[in-house]
């Protein structure tokens, strides 16, 4: 389950930490599909409206043995770069003949409702949206979508829950508090329909590896369909290759040490001219470079420790301070909002950003018409001889729950979710992302290029019903996925996973803000040299006393009870 740590709309300098807050991974071998049992309920579990009646131990026994869906990689499309259940696939161009994977429309003829945030500007509503209408025909049911802007979805969602007026399909953010309780109280139990080989009925859903399904388990059952992210949310240093080239630097440079990185940044900084190398202080990069592992780690003896307690944490802060004092980070990095920073990057006022693969692709497409604009990626170099790591990104964007009070058959809803999980290269994917040729997109060779109308009409939030993992692809430029795949290769050598993924801790869920707020504040100040690094042990101690220690204990218990080897 989500480790319940805060992720929200907050000033952007926190956001890159916050994305890693959503990192929910269990340290397990990737190939294992069967998980002993997960998401133990800690003391505050909500099995009944009157408060928890069964002891955590009893519930945890129930959890042992929840079988995750068997992973079956979809083989219907030819890949240029092959991934697996964690690594992403890549394509040089869109397949010329998209495969039709699902013959029968999944819907049952009656309207299906869905509530979600929408990815961008509000699209034309159904009556004026030909794409939407064509979609309904394809899936064989009317699709009613209740939308909310990104920034406000949390509020709308909570209100809907409280009022009890939920639609059939529910976009549930992973950061929702008391997620296990919510899932159990509101959503259909899907376990018998998807566990193990039952998932084979839904091949596109079977294409989602166990890492994704893990996040959908609560109190011994699977309560929803995952909307995957994981690797696509790995953060790396994104570079403006064209600007590097202009400065006489190898556009695909990869610094081996932190000092080399600092030197590189210095070359790219011209304070007098108003240009600084970095848009932001890459805190997690420093963590990775100093060998600080992802979020929570479990030791041999079963104890959990958080990364701020790690022995290399001080080194990470030193590394950040080094960057700040070198003057290579934009002086407004801590005050500017994220759209300003994006503009620094796209405008050339900064040559390096710290963001995910998703952002990488977006930068490329937003500046597709700009000459020479080209983005590269650099992984974490080593700080003072440490073994650098790559923090694996948050597994899920959200969980899609099926309303337990829905009038639809669970199998219908699963079939619909299956349809929307169609992977890259299929006809279903082409339609749901791009629409109909000649209307919402035009073909350039075999690559679909969205028309203006297409961008508007297709933005109705379908990717939050369910989705396939991102594929590296860029219409018209195979160089982009090639570079991205190369970065993925490097990253796959030293992935660090969050051991707390899939485990629920009451303290973390309820007191997340209490714990993290003072810590992020202190670290931000230390990285700017406004507070002394010698205060770190005190900060950590306060964190432990405020609940960090308790959280570690709860996680250890949850792990025990989950029966994972």
């Amino acid at each position: 389950m989500s480790s319940g740590i805060v992720t929200a709309i907050v000033p952007s300098t926190r956001s890159e930490r916050l994305t890693t807050k959503g990192l929910d991974m269990v340290r397990m071998t990737r190939r294992t599909a069967l998980v002993g049992g997960l998401a133990a309920v800690a003391a505050g579990g909500s099995l009944s409206a009157c408060g928890s009646s069964s002891s955590p131990k009893e519930v945890q026994q129930a959890n042992s043995g929840v079988e995750l869906p068997t992973y079956t990689k979809y083989e219907g499309v030819t890949l240029d770069w092959v991934g697996d259940d964690v690594l992403l696939d890549g394509f040089k161009e869109y397949p010329a003949e998209p495969v039709v994977g699902v013959e029968e429309p999944p819907g049952d003829g009656t309207p299906i409702s869905f509530i979600t945030n929408i990815p961008g500007a509000i699209p034309p509503q159904k009556e004026s949206n030909p794409f939407w209408k064509a979609l309904e025909e394809k899936i064989g049911s009317e699709l009613q979508i209740e939308m909310a802007p990104n920034a406000d979805y949390g509020t709308k969602f909570q209100t809907k829950i409280a009022s009890g007026d939920l639609p059939d399909l529910i976009n549930i953010p992973t950061t929702t508090s008391d997620l296990p309780g919510l899932l159990e109280a509101t959503c259909m139990d899907l376990t018998e329909h998807v566990a193990g080989d039952a998932i084979s009925k839904y091949p596109y859903l079977a294409n989602l590896g166990p890492e994704y399904w893990k996040g959908c388990v609560a109190n011994g059952a699977i309560y929803g369909v995952p909307v995957p992210r994981l690797f696509s949310r790995n953060f790396s240093l994104l570079t403006r290759r064209d600007l590097l080239e202009k400065a006489g630097i190898d556009p695909d440079v990869q610094p081996e040490t932190w000092d080399e990185l600092v030197d590189l940044c210095t070359e790219l900084t011209d304070a007098k001219g108003g240009r600084w190398a970095l848009t932001t202080m890459p805190g997690n990069l420093a963590n990775m470079a100093a060998g600080v592992p992802n979020e929570w780690q479990r030791a041999e003896d079963g104890t959990f420790t958080h990364f701020i307690e790690h022995e290399n944490m001080a080194a990470s802060l030193e590394a950040q301070l080094q960057l700040w004092e070198a003057g290579v980070v934009n002086p407004d990095a801590y005050t500017a909002n994220s759209s300003t920073k994006k503009e620094w990057f796209t405008g050339g006022n900064a040559a390096i950003d710290f963001d995910s693969f998703v952002a990488w692709t977006q930068y490329e497409s937003a500046s597709a018409t700009v000459e020479d604009f080209s983005v590269g990626g650099m992984v974490a170099p080593s700080y003072q001889g440490a073994e650098p790591l790559t923090w694996l990104g948050g597994a899920l964007n959200n969980i899609t729950g099926f309303n337990a009070d829905s009038e639809h058959d669970v199998e219908t809803l699963l079939a619909v979710a299956n349809w929307f999980a169609a992977p890259f290269g299929t006809a279903e994917y082409l339609f749901k992302k791009y629409g109909t040729e000649g209307e919402q997109y035009e073909l350039d060779g075999t690559d679909p290029i969205p028309t203006e109308r297409g961008v508007l009409e297709t933005g109705i939030g379908l990717q939050y019903i369910s989705d396939s993992p991102m594929a590296y692809y860029f219409p018209g430029d195979p160089g982009v996925p090639e570079r991205q795949y190369a970065v993925q290769e490097k990253m796959s050598q030293n992935l660090s996973k969050n051991a707390a993924y899939g485990l629920y801790s009451e303290t973390l869920d309820q007191k997340g803000g209490d714990l993290t707020s003072p810590v992020w504040d202190a670290m931000g100040q230390m990285a700017q040299g406004k507070r002394s690094l010698s205060e770190l042990p005190d900060v950590v101690k306060s964190w432990q006393e405020a609940g960090g220690k308790k959280a570690a204990e709860e996680l250890a218990e949850a792990y025990e009870a989950s029966g994972i080897e």
């Binding site: 805060v6 919510l182 500017a336 931000g524």
Partner: protein, 334 residues
């Protein structure tokens, strides 16, 4: 609540109540119900507004009971566990971060009362002293514009102009004049906040003072002029007294929400200066709890703020009475 002394003797002369009278010794003076009946039209006037408030404001106030509960939306208000004063713990356990937030809040409130509140009054007076009606209107129409900008935009504007990589510093740097640290400078944070508020809202706030100035009877000025008062004395003896009522009213009302000092504005700028300097009650609640949907603490702190606000308002009103002023709710004797 006692009824203030009625001023119209005409009403006093009404016939005494008969059988329906409430009080016993009320032969000359009409009782409560009689008066109510007499003013039944006013009851009708009150009804629509009061009903709306009742249904959509007061009734939902009962929901604040979740301040005493461990509220989980999917369980509903009644289904959630009762936890008594647990959500209020933060307030009475002396949590240093909370106390820091409280201190910052109080300081900012005081600074706003002294520096920000008078600004629109002064501006209104200044505007008032302009001779040309037209110029006055044009200027006023310009100055109120920033009110419509959201804080996101205002903060971004300030940052683009005064920030480390903003226009000012870029200019200074390119001329080898060094750089000034304004945004992100802890020492300057409070002045920065105050100037942002002043920039954004002063023009808008003058509107109500201009309206108040407009209601001052012109003849009072003329009478003063006849008595030989120059411009300054007219201001002292006519304008300022004319404004007094509104100023006091608004000041007292503002006290009620005074502990809410610039949530979004501060939240957007916290990361640079650190929580020590920037945390106020609302951001504290947000950072600690609201994000995860922890309604309990937010409601608890909100309740406490409201109670304090009520105390301040009632107290200030009493104070106003001591000075012979009308305050919010003593009826004015003419």
């Amino acid at each position: 609540m006692s009824v203030t002394v009625p001023q119209d003797t005409a009403r006093e002369a009404e016939p005494p109540p008969s059988a329906e009278g409430a009080g016993s010794a009320e032969r000359r003076r009409p009782g409560f119900w009689q008066k109510l009946w007499r003013d039944r039209l006013l009851v009708l006037f009150v009804l629509p507004g009061f009903l709306v408030l009742l249904v959509y404001h007061y009734y939902p106030l009962l929901g604040n009971i979740i301040a005493f509960k461990d509220y989980r939306p999917y369980r509903g208000v009644w289904g959630s566990d009762w936890v008594g004063l647990e959500n209020f713990e933060v307030i009475y356990t002396g949590d240093p971060a909370f106390l820091n937030a409280l201190t910052n809040t109080l300081i900012l409130t005081a600074l706003q009362a002294v520096l920000v509140f008078p600004a629109p009054i002064i501006l209104a007076l200044l505007l008032n002293s302009l001779l040309s009606e037209k110029i006055k209107r044009v200027i006023q129409s310009i100055l109120y514009l920033p009110h419509f900008l959201s804080w996101v935009v205002v903060v971004a504007l300030f940052q683009q102009l005064l920030g480390g990589s903003g226009l000012l510093n870029t200019f200074l740097r390119s001329h080898d004049l060094g750089a000034v640290s304004i945004i992100g400078n802890g020492e300057l944070f409070r002045p920065l906040l105050l100037s942002q508020v002043i920039w954004k809202d002063t023009g808008w706030a003058t509107i109500i003072f201009l309206a108040a100035l407009a209601t001052i009877n012109a003849e009072l000025y003329e009478a003063a002029a006849v008595d030989g008062a120059g411009r300054w004395r007219q201001m002292l003896h006519v304008t300022l007294p004319g404004l007094k009522g509104v100023v006091i009213l608004l000041f007292i009302l503002q006290l009620g929400t005074s502990l809410t000092v610039g949530f979004e504005q501060i939240l957007l700028q916290q990361a640079a200066v650190g929580l020590d300097r920037s945390e106020v009650l609302d951001t504290f609640v947000y950072n600690r709890g609201v994000i995860g949907g922890h309604w309990g603490m937010a409601t608890a702190v909100g309740l406490v703020k409201s109670v304090v606000g009520v105390a301040l308002v009632l107290g200030a009103n009493k104070l106003a009475h001591l000075f012979g002023e009308a305050g919010v709710y003593a009826t004015k004797e003419s």
